[in-house]
Amino acid sequence: MKAKFPVILIIVYAAFILFSFMSGYQPGKDIGSNFLSFTLSMLKILPGAFILIGLFQVWVSRERVEKHLGEDSSIMSFLWVLLLAGTTVGGLYVAFPVAWALYEKGARLQVVLAYLGFAAICRIPMIILEASFMGIKFTMVRMFVSIPLVMISSALLGRYLAARNWEMTSPESSAGKEEGSDRWVH
């Protein structure tokens, strides 16, 4: 079911855009050019991001990830993912595959969730833009409040999920399953 859904959606969508361009239907043409411009900006980042994920996969050993980010890792693990998040490019759509790659290599859930939170709020290029347009004070307040809250909430949510034997699944293996609610043990 799940695998089929995008196919139908994409065909309907493509037909609509094509029809709009042929008949000159302006909203459809606008939507089509939005799609194109976002696709192009994503394509600038995704190949590089996935190549880095691939390199990470073959060069970084599971033991190393487990030692620094795994079950027995210290609070330092949050600092490591904060640094990793700071250098993450693009938006959250890049952070999700990275988070999965970390999890796959044995990073604990708390740390994976913290990485995602940090990737949302602490990307360095974004911070520079923010501080230059909104002022250092604005950015400082945001960071000082949100970073501890992301740490605390990730630790709590991670522990909560782990206690329920919840697991992240890769998109490839979840394609056959319906939704994701089956991962919760009731």
Partner: protein
């Protein structure tokens, strides 16, 4: 771009130390990319439609709301739904600031924009499942409220 420079250097370093591993890395990269591609396309479809229904100019009009609480509510709602790159968001917020929109409202907007992503939900769902994805986004929303309130206090826009 620095990013591709770094990627190229690492890829070359990998290639010269172990060809087999590098080929494997590229295969993994392609497999992971092609597996998530359908979900990315769904996201792009959503982005293209939402951008039409909620263009950047309209979003900025909404944020100009006079009433502080209403302004914040609208900011958080729009921030949760929109997907805007930083190089568009912050210059626009800078202009709004110049027009007198409170820091608190702008903080609510930019923080939800960063932390709550209804548009990236299809991608998030593929890795986390819907339930956990919603919890994660809900937490992001609550954090955004706290950030905005503290911002309001620090800039003396609200008082306890």
């Amino acid at each position: 771009m620095i990013f591709y420079g770094v990627t190229a250097v690492l890829l070359l370093a990998s290639f010269f130390s172990d060809r087999g591993k590098t080929v494997k890395a590229l295969k993994i990269a392609w497999k992971k990319f092609s597996n998530i591609l359908p979900v990315f396309i769904v996201m792009l479809v959503l982005v293209s439609i939402s951008l039409y229904l909620l263009p950047h100019e309209l979003i900025m009009d909404y944020l100009g709301e006079e009433d502080l609480l209403r302004g914040m509510g609208i900011a958080m709602l729009v921030g949760s739904m929109a997907l805007m790159p930083g190089f568009i968001v912050f210059p626009l917020c800078g202009i709004l600031r110049g027009q007198g929109v409170p820091y608190m409202v702008l903080s609510a907007f930019t923080t939800t924009l960063m932390m709550v992503g209804l548009i990236t939900l299809p991608v998030e769902k593929a890795y986390f499942g819907m339930k956990t994805a919603l919890i994660r986004n809900g937490i992001g929303f609550v954090i955004a409220v706290m950030v905005a309130v503290v911002t309001g206090l620090v800039f003396s826009e609200v008082a306890l």
